[in-house]
């Protein structure tokens, strides 16, 4: 019973209800898979315990209820003070279950957290910020934000991605349920985890440690690309920023305002690190840490008043004139 019910419910949750996006029962990478298998074992055991104990409780509650019309209704039932044998049995059996569960768990902890790192693993440094994600590829010379591109990992020739994580300000937590469990990003401390999506596609998640006002809109997008697409993406990101003379005016607005204090655009004087790197901002699908689609209208609204989409965001409203606003949006839209 327990063995068919829980996986059945799990399948329903992963397929029937979810939109495929963030269910822990729809694993798509090795760590998430091993957690899923372990969770099925745990669920089966606790479901079995529940059925036995709840069944006994229910039976006792119904069977031993007081009946006012019974012949001996006013007589106290026999008083039983305890039984060493019975109590010993319900001590020893739980101990055995605990041993079993512990061994199965210890195995997954060690195989996940002590997994040897293959030579061809991709390294990415993840820095949590209030309220966005910085992704650095140290060996590839790429810095980007909020949309993490990594290669698909073929189980026969795994190419996992190793994340080295820290925070620039408060605690954050990186959680993409279909790929792996979460890992916190803590200032002044380096944490690591690895992911290996086994099918191409977009994997969603979000910050899972309360980090301030906009914790809710610190969304995560992981793009698992096939090897050729990933190589193309890398080559593109390694280019310097597009320098289109047609939008020189917008570029000037960007460089003559406070924008450059917080944002970097490679190849220009803008080298700020407080906000996301904008060198290839137009190549991203979303802005505001995944909360809205990247299109000129949204970009314009965001620059005019970032609190439109993310009240409490650290970027101030820039109070640009309508003319300057149009110019800077036109400029940023060319940064493919």
């Amino acid at each position: 019973m327990a063995h068919s019910f829980w996986p059945g419910l799990a399948v329903q949750i992963s397929t029937g209800f979810s939109h495929g996006s963030t269910s822990i029962f729809a694993p798509a990478g090795t760590p998430a898979h091993s957690i899923f298998s372990l969770s099925m074992l745990v669920l089966s055991i606790v479901a079995a315990i529940f059925l036995v104990v709840a069944g006994l409780l229910l039976y006792a509650v119904v069977r031993y209820r007081h009946r006012a019309d019974a012949a001996n209704a006013s007589v106290e039932p026999p008083q039983i003070y305890g039984s060493t044998q019975i109590e010993l049995s319900w001590t020893v059996i739980p101990v055995l279950i605990v041993v079993l569960l512990f061994l199965a768990t210890a195995r997954i902890i060690l195989t996940t957290q002590n997994a040897p790192k293959p030579a061809n693993a991709l390294d990415v440094t993840v820095i949590g910020h209030q309220f966005w994600w910085e992704y650095d590829y140290p060996k590839l010379g790429i810095v980007t934000a909020n949309e993490l591109h990594i290669p698909v990992s073929d189980p026969k020739h795994p190419t996992p991605t190793y994340l080295t994580m820290s925070s620039a300000d408060t605690d954050h937590s990186f959680w993409v349920p279909r790929l792996a469990g979460k890992m916190d990003l803590i200032p002044n401390q380096i944490n690591t985890m690895w992911i290996d999506p086994q099918a191409p596609g977009l994997y969603l998640g979000q910050c899972a440690q309360y980090c301030g006002v906009q914790h809710a809109k610190m969304l995560i997008r992981v793009y698992a690309d096939n090897p050729p697409e990933f190589a193309a993406w890398v080559a593109h990101q390694q280019q310097p920023a597009v320098d289109d003379p047609g939008v020189a005016e917008g570029r000037a607005v960007f460089l003559h305002n406070a924008c450059m204090s917080c944002h970097t655009i490679a190849g220009t004087a803008a080298t700020g690190r407080f906000g996301p790197d904008l060198t290839h901002v137009a190549s991203r699908d979303t802005i505001a840490s995944g909360s809205v689609t990247n299109n000129p209208a949204n970009l314009r609204a965001f620059i005019d008043n970032p609190a439109t989409f993310k009240p409490g965001v650290l970027m101030p409203a820039m109070h640009l004139s309508q003319h300057d606003l149009d110019a800077v949006v036109a400029y940023l839209s060319t940064l493919k």
């Binding site: 209800f17 091993s34 109590e87 349920p177």
Partner: protein, 559 residues
């Protein structure tokens, strides 16, 4: 049995009405453990309603995605105030209130060991609660009215540093916790001293009612674990105002250090709250099953065992902070081990009702709900003790559902049960059983709507503490159901409050022993006179009143 009540019990009925000021003066200056207990309970009930309203506002906000019912800033202070209030200003005072009231009565004592310390502890805790809520006006000066702490109830560093939390809201939070901690340590010490020194003749340790045993364990735990919490608050204040760097990560401090300090308090705190719920169950379930508790020595051993083990499990709140595989494995094992004594308790309660004659009064209905719900809460707890499972479920709505199953499904159900059971002793009048049944069933429906379905969005990837969520994640339907359950719970709670007020004035007179029970508090009048017992009782077994009612078959023959 209850003939000694002429003086005090008589005055409440017959004496001319006193001025309101006289009555107030009486309560403010009292050192009577019963009055202090009642003040604890009343104060906790007030905050229960306040923090319940905060929960309602949050559930309205989360009922649909991208809702604009409250601002993100408001939502953040709502969940901070809800959690802080429920743990420190509802859970602790209501349980210490019952402890204050019941422990001396059940051990045949005339008051607590230190009556004036008792009054001091209550008033300092109460002042802490006032200070927390004063933050709404004082945190940013009057121009910032409405600002309240917004760092979450476990207030992780460095979000609490001056730079991330300017103004004074975090200071009010810190001071409130510090003051309530001082009060709680005082009361814990008092209960330990009372239990050890004030027992009536014949009440050896192994004849103490289980409730008293559990209050002894819970008080020892509070005594041990509130100290590090208080120390951490002082360190945080030093960081914020003197420029020390305990938790200041910008200057080399450690965010994880705060987590250790907080959870070495925070996890035992769960047991500090749940052990009194076990205590109520240990008294109420036997009386309404008409049987002695099954396996008294094992119950005592399991309680003491839980007390000790609970001190070694704190880092299961930290499976995702990067402690490494070694600590993760150790704390998985330590956490799982606690399931064994907890299991013993459930099985012993099962064996107690087995073969009994269960009277389904409202108190017993709530206790039965407790048994089923605590079973489920324990099982989801085992799931969360599996570190890799926790990497997925930690900080998700699954965890929120799990601990509300403990706090509401187990603890609050037992608190309601305790009200229906001991209200007659405290007030002299019975609570309405008819209203009580409505209260029970409506609350049960609301509880299950809310907290059963709350597990699902967690499994679907919804983190806690988000003021809104994306529409495309498939979380809305679950959140809608969860929010609808909250309405039922609110209605049921209103019924309960109404029942208490109505019954206090109009309920049937209870008499000293309305439940045909067995422990000493039922041997004196309802409400008990000042100093409880005209003559200090002498006991010969765990159930002194059973011995009196069944002279042909006393417990003392078997112990």
């Amino acid at each position: 049995m209850a003939v000694q009540t002429t003086t005090t019990a008589g005055t409440t009925q017959a004496a001319p009405r006193r001025l309101l000021l006289e009555v107030l003066h009486d309560w403010v200056t009292t050192v009577d453990h019963k009055k202090i207990g009642l003040m604890y309970i009343g104060y906790a009930l007030f905050f229960l309603v306040v923090a319940g309203c905060q929960a309602l506002l949050m559930r309205i906000q989360l009922a649909v995605p991208n809702n604009h019912f409250v601002s993100p800033q408001t939502f953040d202070s709502l969940f901070t105030m809800h959690g802080t209030t429920m743990v420190f200003f509802v859970g602790m005072p209501i349980l210490f209130g019952f402890g204050n009231y019941l422990v001396p009565l059940m051990i045949g004592a005339r008051d607590m060991a230190f009556p004036r310390l008792n009054a001091f502890s209550f008033w300092i805790s109460a002042f802490g609660g006032m200070l927390l809520y004063f933050s709404y006006f004082g945190a940013s000066g009057l121009y910032g009215a409405g600002s309240a702490p917004d760092v979450g109830w476990f207030a992780y560093a460095p979000l609490t540093a001056q730079i991330f939390s300017p103004g004074h809201s975090t200071d009010y939070w810190t001071l409130a916790i510090l003051l309530s901690g001082i009060g709680n340590i005082g009361t814990a010490l008092n209960i330990v001293a009372t239990t050890i020194c004030m027992r009536c003749p014949g009440m050896k340790l192994n004849r103490m009612p289980l409730l008293v045993w559990l209050y002894l364990v819970t008080s020892c735990l509070a005594f041990v674990t509130i100290s590090p919490l208080t120390a951490a608050q002082i360190m945080l204040m030093l960081d914020r105002y003197v420029g020390s760097h305990f938790f200041d990560t910008q200057a080399g401090g450690s965010a994880v250090l705060w987590m250790h300090f907080f959870w070495i308090f925070g996890h035992p705190e769960v047991y500090i709250l749940v052990l009194p719920a076990f205590a109520f169950a240990n008294e109420i379930i036997p009386v309404f099953s008409r049987k002695a508790i099954f396996g008294y020595p094992a119950m005592v051993a399991a309680s003491v065992g839980i007390g000790f083990i609970s001190l070694s499990v704190w880092a299961h709140h930290m499976f995702t902070v990067g402690l490494g595989p070694g600590p993760n494995t150790f704390f998985t094992l330590a956490t799982m081990v606690i399931a064994v004594p907890t299991g013993i308790k459930i099985f012993n309660w099962l064996a107690t009702i087995w073969g009994g004659k269960i009277h389904f009064t409202v108190a017993m209905m709530f206790a039965t709900g407790f048994l089923f719900q605590f079973l489920i809460a324990g099982l989801t707890g085992i799931m969360l003790s599996v570190a890799p499972f926790d990497w997925q479920l930690g900080n998700s709505y699954f965890v929120v559902a799990h601990f509300h199953y403990v706090l509401v499904g187990a603890i609050l159900f037992m608190i309601f049960s305790a009200f229906y059971y001991w209200f007659p002793k405290m007030s002299g009048r019975m609570l309405s059983e008819r209203l009580g049944k409505w209260h029970f069933w409506i609350f049960l429906i609301g509880f299950h709507l809310t907290f059963d379905f709350m597990h699902v969005p967690g499994l679907l990837g919804m983190p806690r503490r988000i003021y809104t969520y994306e529409a495309d994640r498939g979380w809305m339907i679950w959140n809608m159901i969860v929010s609808s359950g909250a309405v039922f719970q609110a209605v049921a709670t209103l019924l309960f409050v109404y029942n208490m007020v109505w019954s206090y004035f109009k309920g049937p007179i209870a008499g000293p022993d309305p439940w045909d029970a067995w422990t000493l508090e039922w041997s004196t009048a309802s409400p008990p006179p000042a100093y409880n017992f005209a003559e200090v009782p002498t006991v010969e077994s765990r159930r002194p009143l059973w011995d009196i009612k069944h002279p042909e078959d006393p417990d003392s023959r078997y112990e």
